[in-house]
């Protein structure tokens, strides 16, 4: 699977965005073009009926594997799971804690 999205020690946000969209495409069975249309406000958990707790758990576990991060219980909250933007900001913060997600 994809390597951690860093270029010369810097977090490559575009690469992370692509990886996260590809992962969501895998979970939702979308093609890459459909997933590419995901925006910051696109709703996830609570908005997509197929994205139940089991699917979200699978998504988070796969994020851990693909991005090389560890997601703790306390990390998982409504804000992080509600929109694509929330999930992306969470992943950015996990990969690069010094950088404050917008």
């Amino acid at each position: 699977m994809g390597s951690t999205p860093f270029i010369e020690g810097q977090l490559d946000e575009a690469a992370l965005d692509r990886q996260l969209k590809a992962l969501i495409a895998d979970v939702l069975g979308l093609d890459q073009a459909q997933a590419a249309a995901f925006g910051a406000e696109s709703g996830l958990f609570g908005h997509l009926p197929e994205l139940d707790s089991m699917a979200v758990a699978g998504l988070l576990t796969e994020m851990e594997d693909r991005l090389g991060i560890v997601i703790d219980d306390d990390d998982v909250d409504g804000e992080m799971l509600e929109t694509y933007g929330g999930l992306l900001a969470f992943a950015q913060a996990k990969l690069d804690p010094l950088q404050t997600p917008s």
Partner: protein, 225 residues
């Protein structure tokens, strides 16, 4: 296509009947399928049987026994242990005269070591538990109940746990915490990247992918020769 197989009873009691789905035409190559578990079993069931159909077309028999406590089984899942599932699969391999094994995801944890074969996208016990426990904590949070992974692990070890609708007994839980798939001599790992596309166990809902089934079956058929 639907048969039963006898699993030896513990304590020398009467043997239990479990379901078996098989493409059995008495051919030389007979592949025992160790299926994925729990939620992943549902998501991968169609894929698994599609691979079996392709093996059948390639002149290879395949045998898919139900694990005791799953699907149509009459015994309780919560009484099952990893050790008994392993010996059950070994008994199935012997009584069905399997020549090879194809283990799928957590099925690799119970694949008989003496059979040559393949582990497709093998899943470890700790990762299996982690995913299921995470699903439970997310659902609990949604319902306004406070549960922690750590707390659930402690309960699971002590008295078993209901995870995603599957009642996993305490012994099975403790066994899974340390269970890693072992690729035995003559067995080969097949990574998802060799099959192409994304693993169907990741999908939020069961799906199918003819291309993936083609490629996995072809890999096995080519290897059997």
């Amino acid at each position: 296509m639907i048969f039963t197989w006898n699993i030896p009873a513990r304590d020398g009691g009467l043997a239990g009947d479990e379901m078996l789905l098989a493409f059995d035409r008495g051919r030389t190559a007979r592949v025992l399928i160790c299926p994925a578990w729990f939620d992943e079993a549902n998501k991968l069931r169609r894929f698994t049987v599609e691979v079996m159909r392709r093996l059948d077309a390639a002149g290879i028999d395949s045998l898919l026994p139900d694990l005791p406590g799953c699907n149509e089984s009459l015994v309780a899942l919560q009484k099952q242990t990893l050790g008994e599932w392993r010996s059950g699969m070994a008994a199935a391999a012997q009584s069905l005269s399997a020549t090879h094994v194809l283990a799928i995801r957590a099925g690799a944890l119970v694949a008989p070591a003496e059979l040559p074969g393949w582990h497709y996208a093998a899943q470890s016990g700790p990762k299996l538990l982690r995913g299921m426990i995470r699903a439970r904590t997310i659902a609990a949070r949604e319902a306004g109940i406070s549960e922690t992974s750590e707390g659930l692990m402690a309960i699971g070890r002590e008295s078993g746990l209901m995870l995603g609708g599957w009642h996993i007994g305490a012994k099975m839980f403790r066994e899974l915490e340390i269970a890693e798939p072992t690729v035995a001599h003559n067995q080969t790992e097949i990574a998802q990247s060799q099959i192409g596309g994304s693993g169907l166990w990741l999908r939020a809902e069961p799906d199918e992918d003819a291309g993936q089934a083609d490629r996995l079956a072809a890999l096995i058929a080519d290897s059997i020769g």
